[in-house]
């Protein structure tokens, strides 16, 4: 590799002045656009902050937003989404993020933006899956409201929702146990728990749960238990298309329904 010893084409002072002038030009439109951005930021900030988790160092707030550049969060989103492609090969690690950054034309050093244990990548994936699940459930609900589909009984609904959500993990299933173990690390538990609980809440909401008493808690606790155990069963399931897992899921949901009925009778 040869380093070109090229003296700057223009004298340094002139280039510095030019840069300063262009910066000033940039600053005026910036002032107005950053005002608007700032107003719309808070709406974006909330769902973004949660997956980030507590940070030991001090992070800047809005970062540089200039010209047609996207914000920090959008760039990080793009890098993480690109990195998912490399997960089956490298696992949930900084290497996968570095490869993802390279496909976007960025230096591999951009992976330094994220924590080195890959937890942000996993949280990004989980929140993406949850969003997909919500969209799916909302779409189904719309179909029912329009009369194009029949309303499913609760146990069928729960089974289908959990199955749909777990199927999203299948492309990454080989590295998923690693992901689960990272999500259980103490500093990741707040974020992973909040994502899990909001997903379960979503499922019950679309299932039509309107309870306002202790049932609200018990239903969510039970479904969380079913989801977690089914996920673990899926990890070591080798049957074709995970038939055993879905049968396990069916049985658990049936158990839960039976317990609910007995509780009501008593």
């Amino acid at each position: 590799v040869r380093w070109q010893l090229c003296p700057p084409q223009r004298p340094l002072q002139a280039s510095a002045v030019l840069r300063r002038v262009s910066d000033e030009h940039k600053k005026e439109p910036l002032a107005s656009s950053s005002q608007q951005q700032f107003n719309s930021q808070p709406a974006d900030h909330q769902p973004e902050q949660e997956p980030q988790g507590p940070d030991p160092s001090y992070t800047g707030q809005d970062g540089q937003e200039s010209e047609d550049y996207e914000s920090e969060e959008q760039l990080q989103h793009r890098i993480l989404t690109a990195a998912l492609e490399f997960v089956p090969e490298h696992g949930w690690t900084a290497e996968a993020i570095a490869e993802g950054a390279k496909t976007l034309g960025l230096s591999a050093a951009a992976a330094g933006m994220f924590q080195s244990d890959g937890s942000q990548l996993i949280l990004h994936f989980v929140s993406q899956c949850n969003t997909k699940l919500s969209e799916l459930l909302e779409h189904e609900q719309k179909l029912v409201q329009q009369g194009e589909a029949e309303k499913k009984p609760t146990d069928q609904f729960l089974r289908d929702a959990v199955e749909a959500r777990l199927r999203m993990v299948i492309p990454y299933i080989e590295k998923w146990p690693q992901a689960l173990s990272i999500l259980l690390l103490p500093h990741n538990i707040p974020s992973s728990l909040s994502l899990l609980s909001s997903m379960i809440d979503d499922i019950w909401h679309y299932a039509g749960d309107q309870s306002t008493d202790i049932n609200w808690y018990t239903r969510r606790a039970v479904l969380t238990g079913i989801y977690n155990t089914t996920e673990l069963v899926m990890m070591q399931d080798s049957s074709p298309d995970f038939e055993d897992t879905w049968r396990f899921l069916e049985n658990r949901v049936a158990d839960a329904m039976k317990m609910g009925d007995t509780a009501n009778q008593v």
């Binding site: 800047g60 920090e72 591999a108």
Partner: protein, 302 residues
């Protein structure tokens, strides 16, 4: 008396500014006021004189802790094989050597993983893998750039003695005007050097220029101590012990007086963060080491 004082002060300020106008923009050298040219000259002299004993002095002043700080910097960088590093003000090569060690060990682990994976490959794929790049550094390179020739010479000697040859280059250059093309490097580091740069804004602009998009800027530097008790002890140690050590070990009291004064003059963590953001970097954050005696600032080029 109260009315006279402000008048005399403003008169001397006028005189000072007139003098400054004749000689060039004023700046500081430690606690003295000097012009920018004078500052560059003086700093050059400082490093010319301390170059031979630089490493020994580092060890004795910081009781060897500077090694841990530099280790933390490279760990934070977490370089992968194939990374191009520019180490500015890298003089005696401490960061460069650590970078090479780190990349070498990551590369070894990578190659081992590949070997394990080999157990499942077909003969065709194994034959293809022999064509692959198996170099111990995986294409990583570090360029050490320093403005002072003496420091570079010491660095080159050290590299020879320790056996570092591959992936290492030494370039004489000024941080305010780097002799490199745009968008070249993955990582730019400056460890305990940015304090000595006369025009920090120019150096940061140059850093921004030579980094690839997505590239990382890392700066390891003395900073403001957060704990007030520790701050008192630190001040005591800095002003009473360090110049004495400088005289005894390196034979140069003034150079180490300059060192401690320049540390006090340097902007604290938040201010430096703002300056880095002004240069165009985003996602700028800092990490305090040893309760703020030293801080690592990191930023990315969008």
């Amino acid at each position: 008396v109260g009315a006279e004082l402000p008048l005399s002060l403003s008169l001397s300020r006028c005189r000072g500014s007139l003098r400054g106008f004749a000689d060039g923009p004023q700046t500081h050298f430690g606690f003295q006021r000097v012009t920018e040219e004078e500052r560059r000259e003086k700093i050059n002299q400082v490093f010319d004189s301390v170059a031979k004993k630089y490493d020994v002095m580092n060890d004795s002043m910081t009781l060897g802790i500077h090694r841990l700080w530099k280790d933390a910097l490279v760990r934070k960088m977490n370089p992968s094989p194939g990374t191009l590093l520019l180490d500015v003000a890298g003089g005696t090569g401490d960061i460069a050597f650590r970078f090479i060690n780190y990349v070498r060990s990551v590369r070894e682990r990578q190659l081992q993983q590949r070997l394990k994976h080999h157990q499942n490959l077909s003969w065709q794929e194994i034959a293809e893998s022999y064509q692959e790049d198996k170099s111990p550094l995986g294409g990583s390179q570090v360029v050490v750039c320093d403005i002072n020739k003496e420091m570079l010479n010491i660095g080159k000697e050290k590299a020879q003695n320790l056996g570092y040859s591959e992936g290492l280059s030494w370039v004489l250059g000024n941080a305010e005007e780097l002799p490199f093309d745009d968008d070249k490097f993955d990582v730019y580091t400056i460890a305990f050097g940015i304090r000595n740069v006369t025009r920090m804004d120019l150096a940061l602009q140059e850093a921004y220029r030579v980094l690839k998009p997505g590239g990382r800027f890392l700066c390891l530097e003395f900073s403001r101590v957060t704990n007030p008790l520790l701050s008192r002890l630190y001040d005591l140690y800095s002003f009473q012990v360090i110049p004495v050590l400088g005289q005894v070990i390196a034979g140069d009291w003034k150079a180490y007086q300059y060192l401690v004064e320049s540390i006090r003059r340097f902007p604290p963590q938040e201010e430096l963060k703002a300056i880095i953001e002004d240069a165009g970097f985003f996602k700028v954050d800092y990490q305090n080491l040893s309760s703020g005696i030293v801080a690592i600032h990191s930023g990315f080029k969008p």
